[in-house]
Each structure stands twice: as C-alpha cells, then as structure tokens.
C-alpha cells in the first residue's frame, strides 16, 4: 500500500535517497548483523521467514495508517471520543495490527497545540506510523523539544501564536503518543478518504499541520464542489 509512487530509480517509494547499502564496502557493524542473524537462525531461535515477515510488517506500517485514524475521528464524533479515551483500541477497531502498542491520542484545538518527543531515546508510535524520521531520533530534536519547543517548531515552518498553549509530551515510559490535529478549514462535507490525504506524518507528531484543501485540490478526487 505505501509503495505506490516514485518513478525515479534513485529514490525510494517515499521519495528519499536510499542509504548506501548493498554495494558499498562492508562495515564492521553490518558484519556483526549478519553474524548475529546467522547464529540465531542456526540455534533455532529465529527463522529467515520470521525475520522477513517482521521486516514486511514494519514496511507495511506508515503514516497512512495514522491518517486513516485521524480522518475517521474528524468525521465521526463517537469514534473521536473512543480515540481520545483509548487510542490503542480505536486503532485496532480500524483493523490496524499495532501489537502491544499503548497509544494515547492528544487533541489539538484552537488554543492547544501538542508536540511529541522522546528525550530519553527514540520512542515513537512505530506500530501505527512506521519507523520514525531521522530527525526525531536526533540529539537536537530530543534536547530542544522540551527546552525551546517554539523555536524548534519555527524551524519546521510552524509558528505558534502566544494565545496557543503548547503541550509537549515526553514519551519517557510505556505510553506512545499521536497528535489528533485540527481538521483544516474548508473541508466541510469531505469524506474520510479525502480527508486522510490531508493528514501528514508531521501533523501527527506535532511538528506540522495538516495540508489545506488548496494544497491538494488537484489530486484529491471527490473533493471538488464539496468545500
């Protein structure tokens, strides 16, 4: 499902360059990965099929899953109430295999903006959204998201007004977090599928906002005339 675009062979389906891998000189740590994997297989602890299945499962997780959850919450007040009460159950209700993920959804409003970070390591709702972006794991993001989050958000192109309270959520323990962003203006009457196309990964971390209808007017089928 996520790999349905990008024609440039030098870019991945998500439009990013591949990290040098298969044809670069073998590194010490790659050698260790191969050795550990082979030892685990030989000792009967893992099978190659299990490892591949786990990679496939992670590849199948993407921000599109979270976007579907958000769009449903935007169109179904009762679902939104369930999401805010128990986000893990609400994700499973839509059929997403999130494993043991304990998820809390935090809602942006006119006066509150939420931002997610893990200052201790790189905790992220990976079982819903896939693996985190590089910057989420960086020293700079993890340090500054609690100390100067407004300056940080400005670097992402998001300037919060002084009338908006910023709530930072530090994923220090067993919970993971996802932001329920505000539904964009001008989307009255849109169905959940069209709305989901507006929901970006960053808007669910809190470092961005959803796209506006104007950004996607030419690509969202069925939205014309509904605004």
């Amino acid at each position: 499902m996520p790999h349905d675009h990008a024609d440039d062979p030098h870019l991945s389906p998500s439009g990013h360059p591949y990290r040098p891998d298969q044809d670069e000189p073998l590194t010490y740590w790659q050698t260790m990965e191969i050795a550990i994997r082979e030892l685990l297989v030989e000792k009967g602890i893992l099978t190659p099929a299990e490892i591949q299945a786990e990679i496939d499962a992670m590849d199948s997780r993407s921000p599109a899953n979270g976007a579907a959850v958000v769009a449903r919450a935007w169109t179904d007040p009762e679902y939104k109430a369930r999401l805010l009460a128990d986000a893990s159950a609400a994700c499973r209700e839509l059929g997403f295999d999130i494993g043991p993920l304990r998820l809390i959804a935090v809602e942006n409003t006119e006066t509150v903006h939420n931002l997610i970070v893990c200052t201790l390591c790189s905790c992220y709702p990976r079982n819903l959204l896939g693996l985190p972006p590089d910057w989420y794991k960086s020293r700079a993001y993890r340090s500054r998201a609690v100390r100067e989050p407004r300056a940080l958000l400005a670097e992402f192109g998001l300037t919060l007004g002084r009338d908006v309270t910023l709530r930072v959520h530090d994923s220090t323990a067993d919970m993971r977090y996802v932001v329920l962003p505000r539904r964009p203006e001008g989307t009255e009457g849109w169905d959940a599928e069209a709305l989901a196309a507006l929901v970006t990964r960053d808007s669910m971390i809190g470092t961005g906002l959803p796209r506006s209808p104007g950004d996607v007017a030419s690509t969202v089928a069925g939205a014309e005339g509904n605004g």
């Binding site: 200052t119 201790l120 609690v146 100390r147 100067e148 989050p149 407004r150 300056a151 002084r162 309270t165 910023l166 709530r167 930072v168 959520h169 530090d170 994923s171 220090t172 323990a173 067993d174 919970m175």
Partner: protein, 93 residues
C-alpha cells in the same frame, strides 16, 4: 484539585526512565496509567516489580524559570511512582 508531586533528585548510576531535566521539579498528576514492570529492574534481567506509572504535567516556568519561551506551556512525562514524592499543602510555593 490537582495532586501535586515533586520528582526526586536521585542520580543512581544505572538505567532509569526519569529524565535529568525533571529531577527536583514539581508538577501535577495529569492521569494515572496503572502498574507496569519497573524498567530499572527489567534493564538488568531482574524480576521486575510492577509499580504505578503516572503522567505528570510540568509548566515551562517550573522547568526553565525566566528562560521559558512561554511560562504556561507544559511538558507531560510518565514517571514511575517511586520517583515521586507527594507535596503537602504547606510545601506549596
């Protein structure tokens, strides 16, 4: 009324899930999350006791003083109960 707590200033040499920037800081309990195995024991292959985990909300003013970008902004973090000391009303600033 919100229940106020203060994070202990402990600094044991080992794996803990209480960030340094919150130690000694006062906040209010945002919600209680139930009991979870103590990660400080799990990290060392010990049989982990289940202890209460709570979300504590700290204001930017409490964390950063005059250096806060906006005093009323907040940071919420999950803290295991053994890291928290309850505050009596008399301790309130």
């Amino acid at each position: 009324m919100a229940e106020r707590v203060r994070v202990r200033r402990w600094a044991p040499p080992g794996h803990v899930r209480t960030p340094f920037y919150l130690r000694g800081k006062t906040g209010v309990i945002e919600r209680r999350l139930g009991r979870f195995p103590n990660p400080e024991e799990l990290a060392y292959r010990q049989d982990a006791a289940r202890i209460e985990l709570v979300r504590v909300r700290f204001t930017a003013a409490e964390l950063w003083g005059d250096g806060a970008e906006r005093p009323d902004d907040t940071v919420d973090a999950e803290i295991y109960a053994h890291w928290l000391e309850p505050l009596e009303a008399a301790d309130a600033p």
